[in-house]
Amino acid sequence: MKKKQYSKSVEPDPWQSLKTYTDARIALGHTGGAIPLKEVLQFKLAFAHAKDAVYSELDWPKLEQRLEQLAIPYLKLHSRASSRSVYLQRPDLGRSLNEASVASLKKMPSAETDIAIVLADGLSATAINQHALPLLQRLLPLLQKANFQIAPIAVVEQARVAIGDEIGHLLGTQLVMVLIGERPGLSSPYSMGAYLTYAPLPGLTDEKRNCISNIRPEGLPYEMACQKLYYLIQESLRLKLSGVDLKDNTTNLFLP
């Protein structure tokens, strides 16, 4: 006698063609009312990448090797958030430097500079590991060619955007640019943001900054990010301001 066997249960959706219009998780199919396992595991894999990004750390050997090639001195700094767990619960501590970092900045010989560059791990150190140096390798030659004086590059752990204000202030620079790992999404766990603040001072808020986000090859590619930043840096130093009053008039040129 033939043994009874159950049939496969996953019902695919007959509208797969709609997937060409969006990256949203549509036409997943179903078994009963549930999402088929294949799609559940794809979701969990994307989530795992995002979680790993949140807990990732700066890759010092690789970063140092590539920073040395830039021929600009760099500093290793740390915020007042002692661990990732503290960092996640106390954004205020991630916005300011620990004592040792403040001391090392105060020991720096004073020099008039136009721009200071800060690399901050933020919520995705992997984003900095992957994208910070490729961007700087394109941007620095432009800045140097325009005769802007560049302060030593600060690389900060457990840092939020506003820590750039304290660093820029202590370095006595005119404009600070913070490159930081953005909050990971399921479709973009390693995305980098860039924030510009003119006349940095602790206590400034977001309306004083300009932001370019989603810097990564699949989002805003390095070359475009570099052109936008170079434009904003020039305009910020020329107009002596940043934030809502500094308009990014390049936007339309670069939209895909």
Partner: protein, 454 residues
């Protein structure tokens, strides 16, 4: 006025009502960040013991945010219905908790009581309640609203279809809408968070959904969740069903959102005047969430859950069609992990319902919070049991524009199935007619040439 409680030889002093409320709050990271949380386990329970003995009348005499400088406090005090309050006016907060769980407090009684309760009373009693209390009492509250569908009926669970797209691409959004409709989602609203708040972009999306709705005769309502002032700019020309706004529990929080009570009133009247609802005239959609006041530095030293309940007083003024807390969106500095998000979701739903609001929930988390989809399943199930009016429906629970995770179309099918719930009746009829669901609510196999795919 200071409040005291002694445990053994230790005397705990709470210098005023807002301190007592903050110290009595179940632990969450936002209150710790604000420096308001109880310093130890015992202090928290001492505060709860003191709060349990507090007469409800005190809340009418001691404001947590000054009456003189805050229009939300003035709204709460000036609109308080003393007659509705009279039957419980002799209770303490603890007695209110026990009474709410009793058989006396049935659906009709709770409905009549709502205008007599202030947000602070409701927040206070919630702090003394376990999760199961929050569920049991919320389940007794019935708040039904109408526009083109009826939302909140006993035995129904509705969804907001949320078809967001990172560049507002109309085709991309339409693809997610079709996907959602074919999964029986969208009876609360088809609601898009636009990436751009420009009036032209918002208008384009409004026309797109409205055309789709007309073409397929879908009994639902649409909303593009732009700023209320943007909606006001285009309201004469664009097909606006519901007007949306994020709101908070203090005047300063609302300022940080760029709104005042007067602007909301203007928008409410403008939307009413369009008269687009077919079976009801509830035209407002509000979102809230614990932590927004602290993040705007506008919390006045009040704990985040009490401030959240005060936002419901703002919502209540405008007779909304939908209100939902976006409970885990704000991040781990306010709600650290799954446990805190679950608790907050139950509190918000309970407080809103008890105050008479049509509460739904965006059951969600960000990737930097200590939470995952299992926590969302737990909260989803608990809120379903608690009688939550609606949840979000997002393709695969993954919002590719706002970069957070919520609940999927499939999640709503799950919840309806395990709890024996149905979509809003008008929408359910349409789903049947379209061959999307059968009479038992089971999803039917669809032909590739189904009308919606043509």
């Amino acid at each position: 006025m200071p409040y005291h409680y002694s445990i053994a030889s230790r005397v705990y002093v709470f210098k005023d009502l807002k301190t007592l409320l903050a110290k009595a709050s179940p632990l969450r990271s936002g209150d710790a960040l604000a420096g308001l949380a109880a310093e130890g386990f015992e202090e928290r329970i001492a505060a709860q013991l003191a709060l349990a003995d507090l007469p409800l009348k005190i809340f009418l005499n001691e404001a947590v945010v000054p009456y003189e400088t805050d229009d939300v406090t003035r709204l709460i005090i000036d609109k308080h219905d003393k007659e509705a309050f009279a039957p419980i006016s002799h209770f303490t907060v603890g007695q209110l908790r026990d009474w709410l769980l009793s058989e006396q407090a049935d659906s009709a009684t709770l409905q009549a009581l709502a205008p007599g309760l202030t947000p602070e009373m409701v927040a206070a009693v919630s702090k003394l309640m376990r999760n199961q209390d929050l569920i049991a009492v919320a389940q007794k509250c019935s708040v039904v609203t109408r526009f083109r569908t009826t939302v909140g009926l006993n035995g129904c669970l509705s969804t907001r279809l949320q078809p967001n797209h990172p560049t507002d691409d109309p085709k991309g959004i339409a693809a997610s809408i079709i996907d959602g409709l074919l999964y029986a989602s969208g009876d609360a609203v088809i609601g898009i968070n636009p990436a751009s708040d420009s009036p032209a972009a918002v208008s384009t999306l409004l026309h797109m959904i409205d055309d789709l709705r007309e073409k397929y005769q879908i009994p639902t309502q649409s909303c593009v969740l732009c700023h209320v002032t943007t909606a006001l700019q285009i309201i004469q020309d664009a097909p606006i069903d519901l007007v949306f706004q994020s709101i908070g529990g203090t005047e300063k929080t609302n300022q940080s959102f760029g709104i005042t009570l007067n602007i909301l009133q203007e928008a409410y009247e403008a939307a009413l005047a369009l008269n687009r609802g077919t079976i009801g005239r509830q035209v407002m959609y509000f979102e809230t969430g614990q932590g927004s006041a602290l993040s705007a530095n506008a919390h006045h030293g009040v704990d985040q859950q009490t401030i959240e309940a005060r936002a419901y007083a703002v919502a209540r003024k405008f007779d909304p069609f939908l209100v939902n807390t976006v409970v885990g969106f704000i991040g781990p500095e306010y709600l650290y992990d799954g446990k805190q998000i679950i608790r907050a979701g139950l509190e918000d739903h309970f407080c809103g319902k008890l105050l008479g609001l049509p509460m739904g929930a965006d059951i969600c988390y960000t990737n930097h919070a200590e939470a995952d989809q299992d926590d969302m399943d737990t909260l989803l199930t608990l809120l379903g049991v608690a009688g939550c009016n609606f949840i979000m429906g997002i393709p695969g629970a993954d919002d590719i524009m706002l970069n957070y995770q919520s609940t999927s179309f499939h999640d709503a099918l799950y919840l309806r199935k395990v709890l024996g719930k149905k979509p809003a009746p008008e929408f359910d009829q349409w789903l049947l007619a379209q061959g999307i669901l059968d009479e038992k609510g089971q999803k039917l196999p669809l032909r590739p040439n189904h009308l919606l795919l043509a």
